[in-house]
């Protein structure tokens, strides 16, 4: 479905590669050289990561500093991030649809794979973040959502912030989809704002081969779309204004 006012504020695709995938500090630069026509701006962030290792004496934690390269499109709405064994592709609003996002994911993945062969995938995730603003100082959640906090008759029904979530298993618990609805800051006067986050991720590490990773993303997208449709009512769709 396509909307005149799509609620998507960010789509994220993230790969975390196995330690068998050879990695060195020049990889990010090599990726940039190949994508700089589309992602000409380059920034970097120094990050701290906590590494947990199991040993004979139990668990130990080490703090490791690493650099993450961020490559951005000219309007900064689309970015590729390359970190230690990590590749992430983000798209901010205006989101131009899966048919435009998918090729970017594939391009980024194939580019990285051409520089260092991906030997295994620890984790991967496809995440959609929707920002929904509904007119009114007060709303009845069930008029707009099929997934919302249910408050028993003994509880106050006026509330401010809230957060509800559920994990759905798929493919014999190989994949999970985490669905969350939280309150957000309204950007329009007398509106109620909410964020819906749908995060489909590979729960069993290395259970999908690298060659199948883009197919997995396609399936993740299909599931996310189904869940999104399952969460909202026609009244909410009227706010988005359906085009098809």
């Amino acid at each position: 479905m396509k909307y005149k006012n799509p609620p998507i504020v960010e789509a994220i695709c993230e790969f975390r590669f196995s330690k068998e995938t050879k990695w060195d500090p020049t990889i990010a630069g090599s990726v940039y050289e190949k994508v700089k026509d589309q992602f000409p701006s380059k920034e970097s962030r120094l990050e701290q990561q906590v590494e947990v290792k199991a040993g004979d004496a139990g668990f130990s934690q080490n703090l490791v500093a690493s650099q993450r390269a961020i490559m951005l499109s000219p309007d900064r709405s689309s970015l590729i991030q390359v970190g230690q064994h990590l590749l992430s592709v983000n798209h901010l609003k205006p989101y131009a649809g899966w048919e435009n996002f998918r090729p970017k994911i594939k391009m980024a993945y194939d580019t990285l794979n051409s520089i260092t062969a991906v030997e295994g995938i620890e984790r991967m995730a496809l995440v959609y973040i929707d920002r929904i603003e509904i007119p009114g100082k007060k709303i009845e959640m069930e008029e707009y959502f099929k997934f919302y906090p249910s408050l028993g008759s003994d509880l106050p029904h006026d509330h401010m912030g809230f957060m509800v979530g559920v994990d759905f298993p798929f493919n014999d618990q190989r994949d999970f989809c985490k669905l969350q609805l939280t309150s957000a800051m309204a950007t329009k006067k007398d509106h109620i704002a909410l964020l819906m986050t749908t995060e489909y991720y590979l729960a069993k590490r290395k259970s999908v081969s690298p060659e199948k990773s883009i197919d997995w993303m396609e399936e993740a997208h299909t599931k996310i779309r189904e869940l999104f449709r399952g969460c909202i009512t026609e009244k909410l769709e009227d706010i988005f204004v359906r085009l098809d």
């Binding site: 920034e43 701290q48 961020i70 983000n90 912030g161 979530g165 985490k178 950007t187 329009k188 995060e199």
Partner: protein, 184 residues
């Protein structure tokens, strides 16, 4: 249905983290510094466990992934629990979405400003747009009913503290006052 509060975890196991592990010599220690200040500021509002896992959706120390949810949640908590004003929240959100490297500095500047002026000023996070040139940046405005004589000195001290967190980042952030009365 299960209620829970961890956002943006990408389903990964989150190892326990402690602030005393963080080396304050590293540039990224600003984030650890920020966590501590937020924890201190909200310690009377929430339990320790709520703070560490549920209340402020701090970007994960393990992955450092800042996304739209991270940004929106943090701004919402500034509004809810620390009384920040947002004249045009959509502009602030959009700016931070596109300048995520400023996220730490922004939160740190907000927390430091609130620590210093929270009880005696209105604090507003806005996007300043220069009317003469094509320039815009985030601004934390401190506004008082009766301005104190040393307000600029105090604001300068805040700026000195958060400025290193902006090093090398795209975009800009300023704590200042326009000497206007608080917004109604």
């Amino acid at each position: 249905m299960t209620g829970y509060g961890v956002i943006g975890s990408f389903g990964n196991y989150r190892p326990m983290r402690t602030f005393d592990m963080i080396s304050y010599e590293l540039p990224e220690s600003w984030r650890a510094h920020l966590y501590e200040r937020i924890g201190f500021r909200l310690q009377n509002t929430f339990t320790e466990s709520s703070l560490s896992e549920f209340i402020i959706d701090l970007p994960d120390l393990v992955r450092n992934t800042i996304n739209s949810v991270t940004i929106e949640n943090s701004l919402l908590y500034l509004q809810y629990y620390l009384g920040f004003r947002f004249q045009n929240p959509g502009e602030v959100i959009d700016y931070l979405q596109k300048h995520r490297g400023l996220y730490d500095a922004t939160l740190l500047a907000c927390i430091l400003t609130e620590e210093k002026f929270g009880s005696r000023a209105q604090i507003s996070l806005e996007l300043y747009k220069d009317p003469e040139i094509d320039d815009q940046y985030l601004t934390v405005y401190v506004r008082q009913n009766e301005y104190e004589t040393d307000i600029i000195k105090e604001i300068d001290a805040i700026c000195e503290e958060y400025a290193p967190a902006m090093t090398g980042e795209q975009g800009y952030l300023l704590v200042t006052t326009d000497f206007h009365p608080p917004l109604v």
